[in-house]
Amino acid sequence: MTATLPADAKAPDERLLHASPLHRLLGRPELGSVIGAVAVFLFFAVIADSFLSSLDTVLYAASTIGIMAVPVALLMIGGEFDLSAGVLVTSAALTSTMFAYEMTANVWVGVFVSLLVTLAIGFFNGFMLIRTGLPSFIITLGTYLMLWGANIGLTKRIQGTVSTNGIDDMQGFESARVLFASSVDVGSFKLRVTILWWIGLVVLATWILLRTRWGNWIFAVGGNKDAARAVGVPVHRTKIGLYLGVAVAAWISGQHLLFSFSGVVQSAEGRGLELHYIAAAVIGGCLLTGGYGSAIGAAIGALIFGMAKQGIVYAQWDSDWFWFFLGAMLLLATILNSWVRTRAEAAR
C-alpha cells in the first residue's frame, strides 16, 4: 500500500492524523466487495421477478462456495494456494460413506474417520510445501490430480462402481443429516444448515485473523516469509495450520454433499470448484500475492458468486450463455470492487 500525500501540503504529518471511523471503514479489505455485492443484489432484484422471494436458495448456493472460500482466503492471506480443495471435498464425502458402508459401521464412525483422512491430506499438502520449498501451486496441483484419480480408482476398487452405495438406511444417518444437511423453515425462508456453518466459519476466521496471535502470523507469513521468520513467527506451523483449516472446511462440505443425497457420491465430482473458491476469495479482496485480505471479504465474494449464479437463472436469460454471463458478472463486480478500494485508499 503506498501512502498518498494529503492534498493540503500544510497538513500535519499523516502518521499523526486521527483516522475517523469512516476512513477506517474505507480502509477495510472487504469494503469494495460490499459495494459490488450491493450492486449485484440490486441488479437482480430489479430485473428478476423471483430473485427476492428466493433468497434462501441464493444463500444456499453462496454457502456451499462460502464454506470453502473462508479457509481458502486465510490460506491465500498466508501466501499459498490450494488447488486440491475442490476434489478434497469429494474425497471427504467418499471416505465417510465408503467406510461406513464397507465396515457396516455407524455412519458417525465414517464421518469421524473422514475427518482424520481429510486432515491427513491437508497435512500432507502443508508438509510437502515446507519440506520441498516448491510453490504451493505445483504441490497442490499434484495432490489435486492424485486425489481425483484416487477418488475414482478407490471407489471403483472398493465398491465396484464409480458412485458409492447409498447409506441412508444405516444407523446414525438421520442424526448426522441434521448436522450437515438439514433445513429449518423460518416463515417462508428455508434456512439450510450450510448457511449456519458458513456464518460460523466466517466469525471464527475473522476472530482468528483480527484477535489472535495466529492471525498476526498469517498476515506475516503471507507478507514476507523471511522477515516473519526473523521476528520469530513459526512459519512452518502456520502454513500447515492453514492447510488443516482448508481440510476441516472440505470435510464439512464433503459431509454436506454426502448427507444431502442419501450417501450416494459420484466419485469424479468436484473438479474445477477450487477455482470457484479462489475466485470468491479474490472477489472479496484477497490478494493473489498474499498478505492482504479478510474472511468477511471472502464470504461476500461467495455471496456475489452465489447471487450471480442463481440470478442468471431467475432472470431467465438464455441458458446457453450461462457461463459467459457468470464470468462477465464476476468480472464487473470485481472491477467495481477494486475501483472503490483504490478510491477509498486515495481518500484516506
Binding site: 428466493s54 450416494v264 459420484q266
Partner: protein, 338 residues
Amino acid sequence: MARSRMARSTRVFAAAAMTTLLAVAAAGCSDSGGKDAEENDGGGGGGGGVNTPRMEIAMVTHSAPGDTFWDIVQSGSKQAAAKDNVEFLYANSEKDDEQARLVQTFVDKKVDGIIVTLAKPEAMKSAVQAAVDAGIPVVTINSGAEFSKEYGALSHIGQEESVAGEAVGEELNERGRKKAVCVIHEQGNVGLEQRCAGVKKTFSGSVENLTVDGASKPGVLSGIQAKLEADGGVDSVVTLNADVAASAVEAKDATGSEAEVATFDLNKSVAESLEGKQLSFAVDQQPYLQGYLAVDELWLYETNGNVIGGGQTVLTGPAIVTEEDAPDLKKFTERGTR
C-alpha cells in the same frame, strides 16, 4: 491388573483407549444397511469360458473419467471378455484429438479388434480408417451410427441420442405435460444437446434448456431449484444422466413444485426413485449391452465371421422404464450392470 505399578499417564491413556474401544464396539456398528446387508443378500455366480485362442480387444471412448454410464459399458465388455477368453483394454478421453491418438496407439499395438465411440466423428475418421487399413476389425458403439459404415466399421451397436430424446418427448406428450426443462450438466457436450433437441422435436409443449454446474451436486441442486422458483409453469424436468436426476428430485421437493422428473440413464438411486414414484420414468439405452455385444461381435467375427445385425445398426434403446420395472432394475443397478 497391576495398577500400582502404572504411571498415571499410562493409566489415563489405557482408560481412554479402553473407553474408545468399548464405544466403537457398542455404538460403532450399524444394524441396518451396509456391507453386511449386501453380503446377506447373496450374489450371482460365475460361469465357464470358451477355448478359442486368446484375443486382445481395445475400447476407446469419449467418456469423462469416473462416469457412471461408461462404467456400466465397461462391465458389459469385461463380462463378455471373460467369457470369450479376451484380454480387454480400455482407454478414454473427453478430448477428441486425444481419443483419436489413443485409437492410433492401439493400432500400433496391433490388437485384434477395436471398439470406438463416434461422438466426435470427424476427429475419429482418420484413426478409425487407419485401424481398418491395418486389418483390425472395428466396431462402433453408442452414438455416431450414420458414420459407422462410411468409416469402414463392421457394425454399430448403440442408440441415437436424438432418437432417445424423441422417445422422451413422446412419453411426455402421453402424460399430458405442457412445459419441460431439459437440464444440461455439461455445456458443449454434443450428445447432451442432441438429447434435448430430440425432446424438443417430438414434445408438443415447450422445452427450455437449463445449464447447470455439473461439477458440484449442490450447484446442480440450486440451479434446478432456481429454475423451478423462477417459472412456476414448469411441469416436467428432464435430466440427462442418473446423478443429476437425484438432484432434480431434491430440488422438486425443496420448492414444493408439482413438476414430474424424468431422466436418461439408470443407476441404483434412479431405480429406487422410480419405485418411490419420485421419478416418473427413465430412458434406458442399455449401456451394458453396448459393451457386451461389441466384444462379443469382435469375437464372433474372428472365430466365425459373423456380424451381429448383418451390418445394420443394432439398437440397444431407447427403452422407457417406469415404476413397474423398478423392482427388477434395482437388483441389476445395485451391482452396476444396468
